[in-house]
Amino acid sequence: MTQDVQVTDPFEGSTADATETAGPAPRWTLARVMGPVVAVVTVGAALLVPLTGNLYYMDLVQLIALYYVVVAGLNVVSGYAGQLSVGHGALFGAGAYISAILTTRYDQPFWVGFVGAVVGVLVMGLMLGVPSLRLAHLYFAMMTLGFAIVFSQVLLNWQAVTGGYLGIIGVPPVSLFGQDLRGDQLYYFIVGFAVVAGLLVTLVLRGRRGLWWRIVHDDEVSARAIGLSPSRSKLTAFAISAVLAGAAGSVYASFILVLQPDTFDLHLGLVLLVMMLLGGSGSLWGPLIGVPLMLLIDNLAPSGTATYAVGAALIVLTILMPRGAAGLVAVLSDRIQERRMGSVVTAVPNISGPNERQPVPRDSATILEGSGLKKRYGGVAALDGVDLVARAGSVHAVIGPNGCGKTTLLNVLLGLARSEEGAVRLEGEDVTRRSAQYGARRGIGRTFQQPRLSPELTVWENVYAAATAPGPEGDPARRAHEALATAGVTHLAHRKAADIPHAILRFVEIARVLSRRPTVVLMDEPAGGLTGEALSSLGALIATMRAQGVAIVLVEHNVPFVMGAADEVSVMESGRMIAHGGPAEIRRNPAVIAAYLGS
């Protein structure tokens, strides 16, 4: 337990050695090895099944493969992006029906049906997602529920097209290059289809988008502060999952040959969700476990008890293993990892700032300017006509008692809240009505009173995700490495954020901001909870940023710290600026002394 980490300070006595890199991630961990192992085992087993010649097993494997494709997509939107959908049964059904209608009623070849299904389901997904993904989680879940119910009604009632209760019979089999696929050929085609879909999903999820989705899932405010648009991210995830559901539906129609409306009711949507949960939502390989397991439960449950089984599974699984099979492995893997790396992180970043503090040049450019900002919450004026200017290479501190509107000011400057009057200008451009993500993309960085990092991601993943998010140019990996070095947290790169003490997370959060090469950084009480070496490291880090020409707005309570770090100080009280000037000037200002500093 007491085995401390061996910390090698990458830049002893000097600052920001940009050549220092975070080093490779741990070569293997249980959680990392599981994915390839599970994939090889399941695909290997699937390839062996035809050797048995057992048609029942072969049908079952093909069904598993098709459901896997749907669940892999569901995992993107529900597991990674965190938007629960109970409508994927209906999307899958829509793909099947569109394909079947095109191939039977309009005599089109299979591939036309396939493309039609993919496009049609994508359009449905966008129509459903655009209005509901802007809102809280709940709306999306309920809207997909609504879609499932409406879809059932359409299948039953639009008899001219869907065949109503009778469904559609005589769907032609999959055909490629003029040849119908049957038996073993169809089997290998479907397994191959699932493998390709699985590889594509893996590719997307292991890239920067996978990280973005997890960050959007964890904390939308934090996501916007690094330039991500939560609704766009979620819509992309949903679109990808709709395409997969539509494609799988199309192949399903040509595999099963007879479509019945009750196959695609709400029940299927829930079964798919349970499959995802069983494997572990947000796990790359979870669906490979969850889908076969659930089909097994479904087939083993005595007839008539399927609804009880699904209902009970939802409750028991969610409570017992909120992160599914993959969650159990992750816990085990973390424990092994902890034994290897030691569990306690105590090393405080050791940063020494620039040797000399240069005065701010007179012609220093105004980067961010707020003028006449007003914001009311209920009856309380949080901002009541506030002006503030942040200049390049200069620290503008804002002090004032709790609740005087400092945090609201930062929110309004970034665009997390909107000023009712006045204007915010970013390098001359009026950004008053722009979103936070727009501001973040144009160079505003923001840290929070409580560090807002994704706890399950490593420090590196947190910083790298921000570096890759839209906005800054140049190699994101290099920017991320440099930012980690500047903030003195390189040695923590492969630690999970959840394992790192609060005080050190502040430095990680600053590294995340720096990886985006911001022109202005808004800091919300960065010194809160810092003492001793950590506090002086923070001072040095702010001085380094200042020396690099970053404009800094520093909201802070620690007055001695502020007086050491700031070039100019504004004092707020009840939503107004009551004083503004250099640190020495402010210290002597009678109004400030009366209102805030005390005698």
Binding site: L128, H137, Y139, V150, Q153, L266, Y308
Partner: protein, 289 residues
């Protein structure tokens, strides 16, 4: 003209069911920020039990209601303890309450089958005609009852000490707890009351809608749309949203018939959400950080 009046009346009648359900949802949501997906099953259960007691056993209406409401309230409490209380993080309650809804529905289906059952109302449930205008007394009663109920709840919340404690809990549970309010007890009360409200809705609306084991999904969904229109957090908004949704459904039934009315209702609400994402009675944003 009388056509329109009749459509409005039938819309308000449909809306009474959604208003009851939306009220039950909003009570829970405003207090706990949980949307209990099993809640509609209590409306179904209220109707089914009303059939058993009032029709099959021929009990007096009041006696039946007096037994049904506490029984369903207790089931609602148990459901909360099993499927909502253990959920500590995130939106996992969507899954557990959905699971509870499935279990309850499967149970109802096993006991009652899939067919719809009639229920009596003491004011009569046959259509009355007044001039060209057609109305059903039991539905008028249901509509009036839900309005009286929501007014009483609003008055309770605003004018009494326990009501104030309840509002404090709804606003911020942790802060309320620090102020010495027994928030656990308030949440329990809310779930008991919300289940009883749903059950009363079932008893009062079943004379015209019939009680059916599988009725819950659709009512649940429609009431959610009602809340989306009215705003998630105000009980009065939920009830008004319920009536508005009923009107929307009645007019779309008139326009395009029963086959695709749901498609139309759903599309209109989606379009509405594009314009007013937070509903009609949204109280205003709160600070994000």
């Amino acid at each position: 003209m009388t056509d329109i009046v009749n459509t409005v009346i039938s819309g308000l009648s449909l809306g009474a069911t959604y208003a009851f359900m939306a009220l039950a949802f909003a009570l829970i949501f405003s207090t706990t920020k949980v949307f209990n997906l099993a809640q509609a099953q209590f409306l179904v259960l209220g109707g089914l039990l009303a059939h058993t007691l009032l029709v099959e056993r021929d009990w007096p209406w009041l006696l039946g209601a007096l037994l049904i409401l506490p029984v369903v309230a207790i089931i609602g409490f148990v459901q909360e303890v099993v499927t909502i209380r253990p959920i500590k993080v995130g939106y996992n309650w969507i899954l557990t309450t959905l699971g509870a809804s499935f279990l309850l529905q499967a149970g109802f289906a096993q006991m009652y089958g899939a067919e719809p059952y009639p229920v009596d109302s003491f004011v009569g449930s046959t259509a009355q005609h007044l001039g060209g205008i057609r109305f059903v007394p039991s539905q008028v009663l249901a509509g009036v009852a839900v309005l009286v109920l929501v007014t009483a709840i609003e008055l309770f919340a605003r004018r009494t000490r326990p009501g104030t404690a309840w509002r404090a809990t709804a606003q911020n549970r942790d802060t309320a707890a620090t102020l010495g309010i027994n928030t656990r007890r308030i949440v329990t009360m809310v779930f008991l009351v919300a289940a009883a409200v749903a059950a009363l809705g079932g008893i009062l609306t079943a004379p015209t809608t019939y009680a059916s084991a599988y009725g819950g999904d659709l009512i649940s969904f429609m009431s959610f749309l009602a809340i989306a229109i009215g705003g998630m957090t105000t009980t009065m908004g939920a009830v008004i949203g319920g009536f508005l949704l009923g009107l929307l459904e009645a007019f779309s039934l008139d326009l395009i018939g029963a086959q695709f009315n749901l498609v139309m209702v759903f599309t209109v609400v989606l379009a509405f959400l594009l314009v007013r994402p937070n509903g009609l009675f949204y109280a205003g944003e709160s600070r994000v950080v």
